[in-house]
Amino acid sequence: MMVEPRWARVDLGAKGVAVAERDALGTDARVAVWPPDALPAALAAVDAELRRLDLQASRFRGDSEISLIQGSGRRAHKVSRGLAEALRVALAAARWTDGMADPTVGGALSALGYDRDFASIGTPAGPLPAVGPVPGWRSVALDGNRLRLPDGVCLDLGATAKGLGADRAAAAARRACRRGGVLVSLGGDIAIAGQPPAGGWPVAVADSSRAGDTPPGQVVSVAAGAVATSSTVCRQWLRGGVQLHHIVDPRTGYPARGPWRTVSVAARSCAVANAAATAAIVAGQDARAWLTSTRLPARLVNHDGAVLLLAGWPAADGGQLPLARRGS
């Protein structure tokens, strides 16, 4: 049985809210609620959702549903409602992003060395393997809860699962609290539910979700919906003397090499924001045009640190994110 990390209260010196954090899903999770006495109920609800998502979609748990499917040697599978939803979201994101956020990158990631929880990767031995384009999301068929997965297709729902998990957890926590508001961050993918504090939830936007890992970029106020960030700066490792990161370009099977190191996107749902941020990193030079077409507020940081703001993302510290027009 896996031991679940315990929540630790975070004292931000802010009155009227309670904040707690713990490791989860191979990254950090943070929950903020008001009124503060709703925290235990919120954490219990978030725990339940995280446990569920981990058991459904984790590529790094041998007993997860998706791992059992991958290891079954069969092509046709009947999946749980929860995994069906996660797969449906991943495939919809792939379609929406024209394949830039593709759930069939799992094989490429494993070949590159990201085949276990990131904390255990170390420095994989051997030269950089030849990978090539991923099988592509169109090779995966999902009809209700019936999944058909061709041989050799390895799924990784990383472009949407954390966002979906944040959406689920925030909604569940809000239902458990019955009042006030909730913010849930899973590795920097943030969903809010209920009534935000006056003026919104202040959220820092940076290269890494772990405060202190990287310098702060900006503080924005989130009054509704979600914000998610993808970055090539996080989750890097060496293979054959080459520095790699976890955002794979489905067209090459190698880590994306575009001009953007970090992209943050606001949307009505965190799954959409998550997918858009990842797709923008992959899109590289085309990210600006693609994001503009979505009309989602976005903040892009290039490798030199220069920042590009789109669709009303506030320039000033403390500015409020506009409500995204799509992504509900």
């Binding site: 802010a14 191979g26 209920g194 820092a204 993808s230 890097q236």
Partner: protein, 128 residues
């Protein structure tokens, strides 16, 4: 409809109240029919008034500023005077996990003009 009409001439005799002089069984039946007719009108008026009120709220809601949008499954409430005011960031939206790179120097303004450009170099394998 005047409510006083009902109380003045259509009121049923109370329990134990003697019938008025000059009122026989025929006049009592007429009174009952009259009251029933008035009751029906009252009910119809109430239904109509409720519909108008509901329609008013519907129109008002349509023109009112939208409450905060929330993620699916959550409730959005009206502004509450108990809402806290939070000024410090409660979370950081960033790439997940721990960076393996550390800033080594800062120089000049960034694209927004408010933040330093940070040049990163790899600081060694530090997977997390």
């Amino acid at each position: 409809m005047n409510p006083q009409d009902q109380s003045a001439s259509g009121r049923l005799p109370g329990a134990g109240e003697p019938p008025s002089a000059g009122r026989g069984p025929g006049s009592r039946d007429r009174g009952i029919r009259y009251v029933r007719r008035l009751s029906n009108w009252t009910a119809a008026a109430l239904v109509a008034a409720t519909a108008v009120t509901a329609g008013y709220f519907a129109r008002t809601t349509g023109h009112a500023p939208r409450p905060a949008q929330t993620v699916a499954g959550a409730q959005s409430g009206v502004a509450s005077s108990r809402q806290p005011c939070v000024t410090v960031p409660v979370a950081t939206s960033g790439g997940s996990g721990v960076s393996t790179q550390l800033p080594v120097r800062t120089c000049g303004p960034a694209g927004t003009g408010s933040r330093p450009v940070v040049i990163y170099v790899k600081s060694g394998e530090r997977g997390d």
